[in-house]
Symmetry: C2
Subunit: 156 residues, 2 copies
């Protein structure tokens, strides 16, 4: 289980959040890379972490997207995986170039504008689909349809 | 009551966090400004917000501190107040220059290295003291001592 807390506080608080989430059963905790290297490093001592290197919303362009290369350089030293936006395939390519084998999970599919498969084609390892499934009239059917689409891409 | 959640997610999630915190009794919710203008704007429709424009830990220098002027420009359009670090008086001066009358609250006192009064002298409206009080052997006495120091500065 990945606890998507987008942890974004000073080191001693962020670390405590990671510790509590791990104790509560989280396998991984998501931490905001924008906080800087000391936060990433200290969180990685309290939990296995995924680090957000770029985000899917338009406002990410203000401060986050211009820094993704530097954030990824720091993240790859400590993270078990990284988070990059399905809405920005170019970001995913950049992140994969820097972080190599680290798993990249990608939110922003459908409800935020990306098509199923966009992130995987750009190099993401997993796509995260939330509202498109849980707000659909038939979530099981929608999940099945998305799964099949991704499987087709995987078979190419 | 200010809910110091350092909200740092995409707009629809951040807004929901702000809404829930407000419903639970928070007068204000603290939101991370580096998320960008759409997050700040949408949170401000769900809650009265304080926006973090700079932070007190060393890692803030990696990505946040270089952007404080632009973060503050966005924050002042929507925020009821802003958050700036007692450990960086220069940041507080910059933030006050940009955000003017907006209340500035300042963490990072004592445990993180700033002296009591540093932030107020730089222009902050309030200093936030956590560990120096709650981890002291006599919290009431320590709080009293800090209060007196700040009152002296206020009287200058």
């Amino acid at each position: 289980m990945i606890a998507d807390l987008k942890v974004a506080d000073v080191p001693h608080i962020s670390t405590e959040i990671c510790r509590i989430a791990t104790q509560a059963g989280a396998d991984y905790v998501i931490v905001q890379g924008f906080l800087g290297e000391d936060v990433i490093e200290s969180c990685s001592r309290a939990a296995d972490i995924f680090v957000v290197c770029d985000m899917s919303h338009p406002g990410a362009l203000d401060f986050i997207t211009p820094n993704i290369e530097k954030i990824a350089e720091k993240a790859k030293k400590y993270a078990s995986g990284i988070v990059g936006p399905a809405t920005r395939p170019e970001s995913i390519k950049t992140l994969k170039r820097i972080t190599g084998e680290l798993p990249l999970i990608s939110p922003g599919v459908k409800a935020q504008g990306a098509e199923v498969g966009d992130a995987i084609r750009a190099g993401a390892d997993f796509e995260i689909v939330g509202r498109a499934i849980y707000m659909s009239r038939d979530p099981a059917d929608e999940a099945e349809r998305i799964y099949k689409k991704l499987k087709e891409i995987g078979d190419i």
